[in-house]
Subunit: 475 residues, 3 copies
């Protein structure tokens, strides 16, 4: 059994394949790019951290409570969210003692064997906090104390960690109605270049939300546009995009249930928008409205140059009981089959050949990598492929992405890595996994004489750094 | 060409990868667990064998006639089922000479190259019957004689083989109306603990069957309940479950075409049940009825603690001409695409968070491993994942399962191996393949420093033995 | 950076895995079969080449303009088809200078890193043209001159290349209305045996085409049958099949959007055919008509012995703007999800057990390999599986095919390799990739002791040569 003296170490060759020849090449590639700055063009960290640079709290608050990867696994094994201290919307009692919660987590840490969470967490423990014994029931207190103490020091404040992590740029994600106070607060400071926002208008585009009409009304107030009219609504969105661009945004983000797009004529759009506003739209009409808006937003991207990220395919809040008690983002989002070839056609028919349009496609449905996404991105100049996402942001998931996408789309229709995380401390660990896996994939191609070594080194740089900067226009 | 002197050998390192480092670790893990007792919690062996311990017949009768893996391949290459002695329902002539059939099989044994059947059969030939030349046209008679002679000896009777195979426990599968005479026969003997039944109520739940109304009437007779009423029907099923539990059952099994579940109110259930009984239900209504029954059966599982196995996705009897001539289970079942995220929602909405519910999900559609099943099992406390099943119970199939499931669901939301077979002699071979592949997968994780060696050894034990006992409540 | 002196070499062990043991076995297998003659039973080369043996043109005309793999990738990165000299239907201006086009291609050749096009092209450059520096901007002129000069020599005329490439037989593909003049031209010469046609009746079967009624009328003129009647139409197709068989055809080919089949009664067929001819059929009716015709054509295959190839699943001409400007086959075909289990049932119910029927199934949807195609081919005597196709005709694509298909369908329900290409010069390269990947797969099975070495050698011969000759009746 693992005990209090089992050492925690990170092997220098972790994630590389066993074969000595491939491993040597993978290591050589990795050594060339491992210290390149981190570009994090899509994620969900809190801009407040970087604006005010306040200390993080205790180990539990930082590493467990916000991490739905962690508590979804614990919950799946019968550990209640209450016992993990996840706050209840209905005010129900939950565990308050962070140390007790940490101990519960530590005791069940073995459940994460073989998962990326385990690898990210161990890397954080080892590299960020300097811990050298494995986390388990016996070492739980030692962990809790050490982490919490370190978090109180200046070296662990957000900006110091940004430097230590060598993060050149990080993009947060905010809703269309967000006044972006924290991004405003850093305007005029050197951090303005390093912490930027992204425009995620789901709140004013998704008519299935209870607050849709209210949000559209607020959008009108914020912009001075008549958002009760279709054209005023579109203009209001244009104004918000402009404001986001002033706060550094180079990209928009769209988290729709499907990849459906639509291209209705103006009068049909007006009628549909009116029905949505009045709450009279059917589910199918709401879906068409979201699809129409993707096409409208693509048109705006052509106007203003913002890069468009489409993140479809999550069945959000699949567990209604849990949702009622605890709300969103509690590990109950489940991927669904997602179709792209028919779904994107209306948008592509209208704008797909326009060289000014830059769409980055993501998926939670790996069956489309080789069948739909690689052929689409390997043809349309407006399409590129985002990296392996969410449930697939893992060693095996990334390998499947490269193996299934590269032969048809090549490397240059991909855009480098996204960490897509709110777990700030894990960002270096996540990028490190991606860098190791990319180097492993390249090393396999080199060993099989499918690319040569020189190409491997160039590609390693491109996949780690250049492609992200170019695709997100961060140049 | 293979001839009568080509040796048959089983390499000690079979199924392990070529790399010496990985192979060494795989072998070390395997050596630790290869002799653990076999737990066979789901399968289709004949309880009569264990109750009366009579000798098996000849080689053909034991190894060819019941094995649809074998004759589906032969049939696909133009060999008629008649020539293989498969009995015809319409009384049509079929080959009667078992030796002639064996020779036909032997001559075409090369067709199985690269299939799991080949590996299972060679293991049976080598380990169970001590054969040391390869099976082919020239050695066919030698095989037939040797196997048939050995089968006549006491050492090859079912109970002796149970001991020799180190099978600690085997579960058979019986329909709801089965009086379980053979399980009764072993009650009070030491075999009662080793041979248990499982409750498979498809015969009284699937209203698309011609015999559905008859079966429901019989169910009433057997239980003394009024099965013409919805509540009486449910109570009758409860009583049968109780009877099965007395015969050792800890689990139920449900072989539906899809994973659809439903949650209708009582009056809708009553009306639907009545239409089904009268034969007035449409195909869609029969499907909803099966779905409603999965939810009802989940409720009963919470009451009585039985573990619920869901085996959806087979298009049974795809070949009507063959079905008319030869009946069920003749290799003409074809997997279909199977959706889980929407399909299971009604059941999960009702019971998914109940810690007393234990559902083991299987699939014939590998596209759902990473997309649907791992995320579902990695969230809901009531869900675990059954092993790679049927067409995927093979080295590559098992590897795909582990590679696609582990990162999101971990190891502890899986339940060990099922052989799911009626081919009794192949049970050790099948478990051996699973053990080798699991050790291979773990060895790869260790070599890539994704788990450590100590964890690998613990996991090897868990995957081989502990998880099955726990998941099926066989403690 | 790659420069004018970077050597171009093809490693003898390319595509083999790194592990020395596996590589040694793969090499040994490959050395046994690498010089076997090429059988090319399905492709799209121009029969005119072989009939008149005229020289090919310049490098651009031969290697870029006809290769939609090449310009789809360039187009996806913002390079216009006009600048690549692709002729416009509307007479719009396009680049005329082949050398300038070649230079543009050379400059962007790095985009193909990791793709099969890169491997095929490098093999053509190295093996066919004897080039020994890498293609890039600096070497572009040298390449253009060398290739264009060589093409003008007798050694580079089609028949000389047929001999040099060791192509024993090549099948072209022609529409039902093609008078096959070039195949006629070689009748009575020794080339008659080496260059044969295949019958692709999509033009007279697909009622969604604008020219359907015209084509059916032409079909009547060519055959003297009354193609306005259902029975006359079928007889006319029979006559065309006979004519194609005289020109060497042993196979038919069907490129439908889906795998749907139908089995209507005669009066329903008559009515549907009449609606199709009048242009009154809905999209769904046109789909059913295509499905009915697959069943009719299967019946004809039983009559006349032609092998039936079904190539479903491409969404053709997905990009309407590009289609309007440039026409078909410009890289805008995108695969779609394709269902087989339900779709093929009407045909299989009618003819699936008939040993005279030989259907070779292809797919662009890899999710059906293990789930649908292998189980279908591993049961029905009329079904075999075509090799990894089009987007999947690549090292990874072929490996996925073998890994996912073999355990259920075995090797003997597959049919060897198809190059399916119009890029004549790449044929040896494409077959070489397939041979290497098959040997690699077999070497892995041998190293894992899943087949023995002797079986590996037999299988290597079968997969390379014997299976194609047998499946396509080329014996």
């Amino acid at each position: 059994m693992v005990n209090s003296t089992s050492p925690l170490s990170l092997h220098a060759d972790r994630l590389f394949p066993a074969d000595a020849k491939v491993r040597d090449i993978a290591r050589a590639l990795y050594n060339e790019i491992k210290d390149l700055p981190i570009i994090s063009p899509h994620g969900h960290t809190d801009p407040r951290w970087f604006a005010y640079d306040e200390s993080f709290g205790n180990a539990t608050e930082l590493l467990i409570r916000p991490d739905h990867y962690v508590f979804r696994m614990l919950y799946s094994q019968g550990i209640s969210l209450e016992s993990l201290g996840i706050p209840r919307w209905d005010g129900g009692e939950v565990e308050k003692d962070p140390r007790k919660i940490w101990n519960l987590f530590a005791k069940n840490y073995y459940l994460f064997r073989g998962t990326p969470s385990r690898m990210w967490l161990d890397t954080v423990f080892h590299d960020v906090f300097g811990l050298r014994v494995q986390l388990n029931e016996q070492t739980a207190d030692q962990y809790y104390d050490s982490i919490t103490e370190q978090l109180a020091t200046d070296a662990f404040r957000p900006r110091a960690l940004m430097d230590r992590f060598n993060i050149e740029l990080i993009a947060t994600t905010e809703g269309a109605l967000d006044p972006l106070p924290h991004h405003q607060a850093i305007q005029g400071t050197p951090w303005q270049k390093r912490v930027i926002t992204s425009f995620r208008p789901d709140d004013v585009v998704d008519a299935s939300r209870d607050d849709f009409a209210t949000n559209v009304a607020k959008l009108g107030e914020m912009t001075g546009e008549d958002t009760q009219s279709w054209s005023g609504y579109l203009d209001a969105i244009r104004k918000r995009r402009e404001w986001f661009r002033q706060m550094g945004a180079t990209a928009t983000d769209h988290g729709h249930p499907t990849a459906l797009t639509a291209d209705l004529n103006t009068s049909a759009c007006e009628a549909l928008f009116a029905r949505c506003l009045k709450g009279e739209a059917s589910e199918q009409e709401q879906e068409i409205f979201r699809g129409q808006m993707l096409t409208e937003l693509a048109g705006m991207s052509i106007e203003d140059g913002m890069v468009m990220q489409i993140h479809p395919g999550a069945f959000r809040n699949h567990n209604p009981e849990l949702f009622t008690k605890f709300g969103r983002d509690k590990g109950a989002d489940i991927p669904s089959q997602t179709e792209y070839v028919q779904a994107l056609k209306p948008l592509l028919d209208k704008y797909g050949n326009n060289p000014k349009l830059n769409i980055i496609l993501f998926t939670l449905d790996e069956t489309v990598y080789a069948r739909e996404l690689a052929p689409l991105a390997g043809h349309y100049p407006s399409l590129k492929l985002g990296p392996a996402w969410w449930f697939h942001d893992s060693p095996e998931g990334m390998l499947r992405f490269r193996h299934q996408v590269t032969e048809t789309a090549g490397f240059y229709n991909t855009v480098g890595f996204n960490d897509d995380t709110r777990a700030f401390l894990s960002i270096p660990a996540r990028h490190d996994v991606a860098r190791r896996i990319d180097c492993r994939f390249l090393a396999e191609l080199i060993t099989q004489h499918r690319i040569n070594e020189q190409e491997g080194f160039e590609l390693a740089h491109d996949l780690t750094y250049n492609l992200a900067k170019k695709a997100y226009k961060l140049g």
